[in-house]
């Protein structure tokens, strides 16, 4: 399992090899998490350049991978949830920029 940073991509797999942290993943899938919703999107064979790797974590197969409150959804639904979250943060960002222009304390 590895979690590469910048765009919050989370990849799970059953086989990995690495050299200077470059990684080859077989049977990779991207787990997108938005709030309490998640979706595993299969990706196949992946090569990850080492500079993008944040953590490589070993999964304990006896433990729960995700908290029980989380619900699996389809790919379309998670994409819609991601879009909604992105729009909400963009809106918050633009509102803040407007406030900063007005220079309130």
């Amino acid at each position: 399992m590895s979690w590469a940073g910048p765009d919050d991509i989370f990849l799970s797999t059953s086989l990995a090899t690495y050299l200077d942290t470059n990684v080859v993943l077989e049977g990779a899938c991207e787990r997108v998490i938005v709030g309490d919703l998640y979706c595993d999107i299969p990706l196949g064979l992946y090569v990850i350049r080492g500079e993008n790797v944040v953590i490589i974590g070993e999964l304990d197969l006896e433990k729960e991978e995700l908290p029980s409150r989380m619900n699996p959804v389809s790919e379309d639904e998670i994409k819609r949830a991601q879009k909604a979250e992105r729009e909400a943060t963009d809106l918050k960002g633009s509102m803040r920029k407007r406030m900063e222009f007005l220079d309130f304390d």
């Binding site: 942290t21 974590g57 070993e58 908290p67």
Partner: protein, 93 residues
């Protein structure tokens, strides 16, 4: 090389690694290498509700370049020794 040696002396101690993406992970320092990549055992994420991704991860490898802080036990540092060593390294290096 100084901090590589320093972390080698700290192996087996409990530390909290804070990453540049704000994730904080607590665990036992298992090993470190020349790039200051860190291997932790018995890991748990500090804010488990905010970061549910790693609930079942017990051991992990953290790339050195993504670490922001390594939070140490207070008795893990001989401050005088470290201070002298860094001063020497800065002068010589």
């Amino acid at each position: 090389m100084l901090f590589f040696s320093y972390f080698k002396d700290l192996m087996g101690r409990e530390v909290t690694v804070e990453l540049k993406n704000d994730l904080a992970i607590r665990g036992t320092l298992h090993s470190v290498d020349q790039y200051l990549n860190i291997k932790l055992e018995n890991t748990r994420v500090v804010d488990q509700d905010k970061y549910p991704h790693m609930l079942s991860v017990r051991n992990c490898f953290i790339r050195g370049s993504v670490v922001r802080y390594v939070q140490l036990p207070p008795d893990g540092v001989d401050i005088e020794l470290l201070h002298d060593a860094t001063r020497r390294e800065a002068r010589g290096g």
